[in-house]
Amino acid sequence: MNYSAILSGTLFIALMLSGCGATTTIDEYRPTTKAMQINSEESVVILGRRDAGHYDTDREFIDCVAKKMEGADIQVLPERQFIDSIYPWFEPRTAPKGLKRLTRLMKNPAIKKQVRNQKLRYLVWIDGSTNTHDRGGSISCAIGPGGGGCFGFAQWEKSSIYEAIVWDLSDLTEKGRLRVDSTGTSYLLGVVAPIPLLTPVKNDACTSLGKQLKQFFSVATNSAQNNSDSSD
């Protein structure tokens, strides 16, 4: 009897945990299947779009994608460092929304010099947010002199939708687009103690986007680059 209770409890928890996986879809568009060449001295910066009224692409997500990219020997410039170095041209009010505006900005010698000094080759714009919806259930907690506890069940769905656009600063062109769409349901069980069963939707979106972006780039060593230049 005791054994079957433990077994059914374990089964129930396993069932709940298995429901905590996020479903992630990635759409990719590239004009060419060739990987984008980046010199080992050149760097990439990942920037969040913050000009929408009702949401901001959060810095945590940008930092997370940057960390995933760094693992591939790609030098990633911290977002804040880049924005400060080029102030005020990448503030929410002034940041270029299209290549036309970027081309105009790059005609400014002072801005061009800053970009060159930082050996910046690619700019990756990320736009999107994570939202919670479809909340259901209820949980209540109480505390008193004799003790306390929670009882109930709550669930909510989260969705993360982000789009990344890659701009090449050497020829001021768009090199590709990525869209990640991740959804998942989280649960909170109140069985005396609250037991959260959380689905890492945003983290999943970040990992998927970071991995996919990494595949966009191919790091060339300086000597290899020089050899190919001389053979040309």
Partner: protein
């Protein structure tokens, strides 16, 4: 005895938690702003930072004060340096020594905030409305330019009210610097004044 102790600690915990929900905030904006990337025009500019402006403390609501004085002076000092090749900062208009200069006196018209409890949005927002009184070297007013700036926190999760308002105020100040650099020479009266000056210089 143990029950009395538990009741006492429960009451104390409740008190601490409730005091954490206090809605008053005294915010001191402390931030270093990056140097602007800009090509200043060969024009003389005098910026009058009055004592009131340098020590400005906004009271956007009865429970909230934001000490903006030092931060806004630093920011505008930096931003105006990107507009004028020759620049002078004074605290009153009778200290001006640069000749043929545009004399600009900034002031704060209004500061507004909105918190999640006001809007049910998960963000804190700050609006700063500046007014720039622009005059020529003879004291003739050229324009009075209204310059709004806006800042918001990405979200309010895990942020205390003071920290969130400070973060939003810093973003609003950075926005003010961006707006100034982008739009100052587009003000029609300033644009005309600059054209006129250039004509006069060419005739000399």
């Amino acid at each position: 005895m143990p029950t009395a102790k538990i009741t006492f600690f429960t009451a104390l915990l409740a008190l601490v938690l409730i005091s954490g929900c206090s809605s008053s905030a005294q915010v001191q904006v402390q931030s270093q702003f990056p140097k602007v990337i800009s090509q200043p025009k060969p024009i003389n500019g005098v910026i009058v930072f009055s004592e009131e402006f340098q020590n400005y403390i906004a009271t956007p609501s009865k429970n909230t004060t934001i000490d903006l004085g030092v931060a806004q002076t630093n920011l505008l000092r930096n931003a105006f340096s990107g507009l004028f090749a020759n620049i002078e900062f004074v605290s009153s208009s009778d200290q001006v020594s640069l000749e043929n200069a545009l004399i600009i006196t900034p002031s704060v018209t209004e500061v507004q905030i909105s918190t999640p409890s006001d809007t049910y949005l998960n963000v804190y927002e700050v609006w700063i409305k500046y007014s720039l009184d622009i005059a020529d070297a003879d004291g003739q007013q050229i324009d009075s330019w209204f310059m709004p700036a806006y800042g918001k926190t990405p979200n309010s999760f895990m942020l205390s009210k003071s920290n969130a308002i400070e973060e939003a105020a810093i973003i609003a100040l950075r926005d003010a610097g961006a707006k100034l650099l982008l739009d100052f020479y587009r003000i029609p009266s300033v644009y005309n004044w600059v054209i006129e000056k250039e004509k006069q210089e060419a005739q000399k």
